[in-house]
Amino acid sequence: MNLDELKTAWTTAHASIETLQAQQAMLQRVVQQQAAEQTRTRLQRAPMIELVLAAIAMVALGGYLAMHIASMREHPLAALPALILLLLSAVVVVVSIVQLRLLARLDYAQSLTTTQHTLATLRTIRVRSTQLLLLLGLPLWICGPLVLGQWVIGYNFPSAVDRTWLLANIVFGIAAAAGFVLVAQRLRGRSPFWRSVSELAAGKDIDQANVLLGELRQFEQS
């Protein structure tokens, strides 16, 4: 069998089936049109939420730093937790904007290679940013309570605690992050949540995106 014979068989086989399919599709369409107008894609939702939350955090932390600027001049170390959180929020804002810009450019009416390339890039950025936040967020967890403590109670915790205590908490954060990944690997067979965490840490989705990019490269070469 060659492609021309296959083509003849293909045309004959589909002539009778298409009428039936057209009728079925007509029934579904009205419902889908209404749904399409209301739905945001699953790809857009996460970066939008992250952007809003990180922007709120940045404004709040900026206000906090401005409010405590006088005491922070006396104890520069006291500004460190808030600055770290501000930096993390800024990273989230930048990464979210990059994702949303790529999404805005994403058009399924573009050629297959262009669209699939953008999708693979998006997937890679998404996984890498989550991994980065997980890796940095857990070791630096102590910054949150320190800033919140000073904000709510008004007590300057960062200047009150010594460096050994801070270091011990950062080490604890690193150990907790490593432990979390280890537990996820052990329990990956028990629930979809642990499986997701384990695969996120292992970068399985990035492997998939790389496979897609490899297939694209191979396909684009003659």
């Binding site: 296959l6 045309t11 599709a25 007509m26 889908q32 669209t115 003659s222």
Partner: protein, 162 residues
Amino acid sequence: MDSAATAFAALLDAHIGIVYRVVRTYCWTKADQQDLAQEIQLQLWRAFPRYEATRSFSTWMYRIALNTAISWIRYQSVRRRHAAVGAVPDVAAESALPDATDALYQLIGQLEPFNRALVLLHLDGLRHEEIAEVLGISAGNVATKLHRLTQRLRTAAQQGTT
């Protein structure tokens, strides 16, 4: 329905076979086929405001349908991996098509997703230039790939009949 919706419905009716053939090329079970058909129509409707009437509707539709299908099968594979779905559906049992058509789809189904798209477009009678436009490769590359795929499909068909 407003005028855009009416125009969309008319164009979709005239080209609904494209959705059907793309769905059959990338999915094996009825449930998956219905899901993908819905997703393709949804993407078509979303993209319709940007469609330029001076350009070929079928080429535009192929691009969206194939992009949606390839993204959908990848998303489904991740979703199923996370949900730890074990059982693979019995394709033959769920098929509602004649044996010969099923055999054709199974033959094409052995190819990689991008090559599947290429063969589908060729079988649907698109010119090399049109195929190149949908896929984003050169027309020369299309000809070379089709020649290679012919050899592969011939070998696969011979192995299937022996």
